[in-house]
């Protein structure tokens, strides 16, 4: 059963501040991710791996193609969804961890991680307990939970980010270089989290900077096709 | 000079009666009326006088009080005016009067069906100290938004421990309109509630009138845990000994010796043994 079906996805930037320069990023992207499966996205540097995740999460707009996501109401095309629908998908169906945690000033770590659960309707206490457990599993000691993560190290921040992404048990989890700033022990925890997600029937789509990670957790790889020279020269014909 | 019965011409009186009918139909709601210049100054009861002039007939018996008394200067002046321009009988006895024009008091003797109380009103707008603009207060009345007044009561309790309004205590009429009872002491306000008499209010300078029909609910504003609690002098009347009337405080000598006597002179006379 496919959780995500992407077809012919294309994305370009038009940089108006640079005289309307067209910068294609993705073209003809097509793959699927099934339940219980981890698909690793690979490609050369600058091939648009991060942009692909962002587009699927609704953070970037796309220019063509479809990306159908399985929901309780059936398959929903993310690329055609309204902002309200995307927010609902983010609440219940898809989670995403960027490479860097975007912190909200003054908000405690525990609150940040509990927030997705509360948005799903859990009460504050239940959400707090689950968030604390998730943080502890990612080796963030309890005395850090009440502190805002702004002052944390890069690795600690990344683990807060991952805790927030995994805690909501979303059917689709998207990870952008989740272990880039983690040491070996913590990378192993992430590996474990991914395996557990797979076992519980959830789908994982990830960009890994570490080829070993791909071998250990990914069931398949999807290599992003390179952009044709043609499209570089005349993006309007796409 | 020859004046029409009750001074005003018939057309003017009819216009006031028409406004009064409307006022009776909307208890507590202020209505504008074409207030005429009267031969008494604005602020001295021209509203009450015009209302009395509009409703008085040859068979009426008129009582006029000011501060509860029939013989204070302004009461005398107004009574003389009506005696001159109508020739109707006047009285000082509350029970005998069919129309009682008053400034600042309600008689102690309970009013009866068929009697009409005419109140002289200086400021008909109960919110004017909190919001001087009539354009704005009119909207607040239309919306029934009286939180401004409640805010004042709240502030009083917080500051003083009680609602510190001694006279002109704001009342709700028929659960709809906030109304000024005119500057009667808070002590008198309960007499308005479910009164068998018709109560009409005239403000000549402000060109507004309003009414409380017989047997209407007139409820002073209060909080559930700070109920309406009017004050009165503890001492009995030095003349008639009444414990239950509203008293004037009289300074007797240079040392400041005080004596309390009934403000309602008619009531005091009735109670003397």
């Amino acid at each position: 059963m496919n959780i995500l079906e992407v077809e012919n996805l294309g994305k370009k930037f038009v940089l108006h501040l640079r005289g309307g320069w067209h910068l294609p990023v993705l073209q003809g992207v097509a793959f699927t991710v099934a339940a219980g499966e981890c698909v690793a996205i690979t490609g050369t540097s600058g091939s648009g791996k991060s942009s692909l995740l962002r587009t699927l999460y609704g953070n970037y707009r796309s220019d063509s193609g479809t990306a159908r996501l399985r929901t309780e109401q059936g398959m929903v095309d993310i690329l055609q969804s309204s902002p309200q629908q995307i927010l609902a998908l983010r609440r219940h169906v898809m989670a995403y961890a960027s490479q860097f945690l975007r912190v909200i000033p003054r908000v405690s770590t525990l609150e940040i991680v509990a927030q997705p659960l509360m948005e799903q309707g859990l009460d504050q206490q239940m959400a707090g307990e689950r968030a604390a457990a998730m943080l502890s599993a990612l080796n963030l000691p309890r005395h850090l939970h009440p502190l805002p993560p702004a002052t944390f190290s890069g690795g600690e921040q990344q683990r807060v980010n991952l805790a927030r992404t995994f805690v909501g048990q979303h059917p689709l989890v998207m990870l952008d270089e989740p272990t880039a700033s983690l040491d070996g022990d913590n990378a192993a925890v992430v590996q474990k989290l991914i395996m557990e997600a797979k076992h519980s029937g959830r789908a994982v789509l990830a960009v890994f900077h570490d080829p070993a990670m791909v071998r250990q957790v990914a069931d398949r790889q999807y290599f992003i096709p390179s952009l044709s020279e043609h499209s570089h020269e005349n993006p309007e014909l796409q | 000079m020859d004046y029409n019965f009750a001074y005003l011409d018939e057309q003017s009186k009819r216009a006031i009666r028409r406004s009064l009918l409307k006022a009776v139909a909307i208890p507590g709601h202020q209505l504008p009326f074409a207030s005429r210049e009267m031969p008494l100054p604005y602020g001295w009861g021209t509203g009450g006088i015009q209302l009395t002039a509009a409703i008085i007939g040859k068979n009426d018996v008129l009582k006029v009080i000011d501060q509860g008394a029939d013989d204070t200067t302004n009461a005398v002046s107004i009574r003389q005016f009506f005696a001159r321009v109508t020739g109707v009988a006047t009285t000082t006895k509350t029970v005998k009067a069919s129309i009682i024009q008053t400034r600042h008091r309600i008689p102690e003797t309970p009013l009866q069906e068929g009697q009409i109380m005419v109140y002289q009103v200086p400021m008909p707008e109960p919110l004017f100290k909190l919001e001087p603009r009539r354009t704005e207060t009119r909207i607040l009345h239309a919306l029934g938004d009286y939180s401004l007044m409640y805010l004042q009561l709240y502030d009083h309790i917080t500051r003083y421990g009680r609602v510190a309004i001694g006279y002109d205590f704001p009342v709700m009429v028929h659960d709809r309109y906030l109304m000024s009872p005119s500057p009667i002491p808070a002590f008198d306000v309960p007499k308005m509630h479910m009164s068998p008499a018709l109560q009409i209010f005239g403000a000549g300078r402000e060109k507004q009138l309003y009414a409380v029909p017989p047997y209407s609910r007139v409820v002073p504003l209060a909080f559930d845990d700070y109920p309406f609690a009017p004050l009165q002098a503890q001492a009995p009347c030095a003349i008639c000994g009444s414990q239950h009337s509203y008293k004037d405080e009289i300074i007797l000598d240079d040392k400041g010796t005080r004596q309390y006597i009934c403000s309602d002179t008619d009531y005091c006379e009735q109670h003397r043994c």
Partner: protein, 271 residues
């Protein structure tokens, strides 16, 4: 915990709730000048919609139209009132005012314009509750104290006059005074722009918490993209009286499409 195989929590039907406010094809003209041109938007329960733009872009006029203070020259504003979705133009002044004073809230840039400066802080807070019919002094005091705490003001200041408060505290007081009626729709007009940066951050955090807790729909007008990013789920960008771009807040800020939005985003100093 990690091995929890419990199914994903049942999605709450938040998206099924209709909008609390709909504006369709609004135009507003002042004299010969068209201040707003063909503006349409919807606001849903539980979301913050930020209207961003530079001063003079028409965003404040738009907010006034959506609040019913101004009437559009063309177009229609509909809002959920006690009788369901209704055009504002069809509401009596009385109904509109009741809507504004109970189901809606409006926090303006300068708290002095909204507060009663001669009435105690607690009196300011509980005014709406009295307007709603609460007549118990003790309960009013408790609610005033509760909301003072909620907006992080020392309850010892309960009976102080607003005049003695700092700018940030005044804004908190205005927020408490507004939110006490638990409005379904909140209008925020540049709520933090008169404040120091550090005070601003604390206030934004407070607003974010209150708004997400109460499931309010919020219309936020701001010229500050950082404020919009922090509070809003959706952003509409205004320029010359038109909405030139609208979408998910992070999408509009991270992948702006319109040349003007790109300029606006690129001119923000990095945090």
């Amino acid at each position: 915990m990690l091995t929890s195989s419990s199914p994903a929590h049942a999605p709450k039907p938040t998206t099924a709730l209709g909008p609390v406010l709909i504006a369709q094809n609004l135009y507003f003209q002042f004299g010969n000048q068209i201040v707003l041109r063909d503006v349409s938007l919807e606001v849903f329960p539980g979301e913050v919609l930020a209207i961003v733009g530079e001063s003079g872009s028409g965003k404040s006029t738009l907010l006034n139209l959506l609040y019913g203070n101004l009437t559009p020259s063309q177009g229609i504003v509909q809002a959920i009132s006690t009788t369901g979705l209704q055009p504002l133009s069809a509401l009596s002044q009385q109904t509109l005012r009741q809507l504004q004073r109970s189901r809606w809230g409006y926090v303006c840039q300068n708290p002095r314009d909204a507060l009663r400066m001669t009435i105690s802080a607690s009196g300011n807070i509980i005014e709406r509750r009295m307007a709603m019919g609460l007549r118990h002094y003790g309960t009013l005091r408790q609610e005033a104290r509760h909301w003072l705490e909620k907006v992080e003001i020392d309850p010892a200041r309960l009976d102080d006059l607003p005049e003695t408060f700092s700018g940030g505290m005044l804004q908190r007081l205005q927020i408490a005074r507004t939110l006490i009626s638990q409005p379904a729709l909140l209008y925020l007009d540049e709520p933090t722009s008169g404040l120091d940066v550090s005070v601003q951050a604390a206030l934004l955090d407070l607003l974010r918490k209150l708004v997400s807790k109460e499931q309010m729909a919020v219309l936020l007008v701001t010229h500050d993209l950082a404020v919009a990013r922090l509070l809003a789920q959706r952003i509409a960008v205004m320029r010359h009286g038109e909405i030139i771009e609208a979408g998910l807040a992070d999408q509009v800020l991270d992948d702006p499409q319109h040349p003007y939005t790109q300029l606006l985003v690129s001119s923000v100093l990095p945090a």
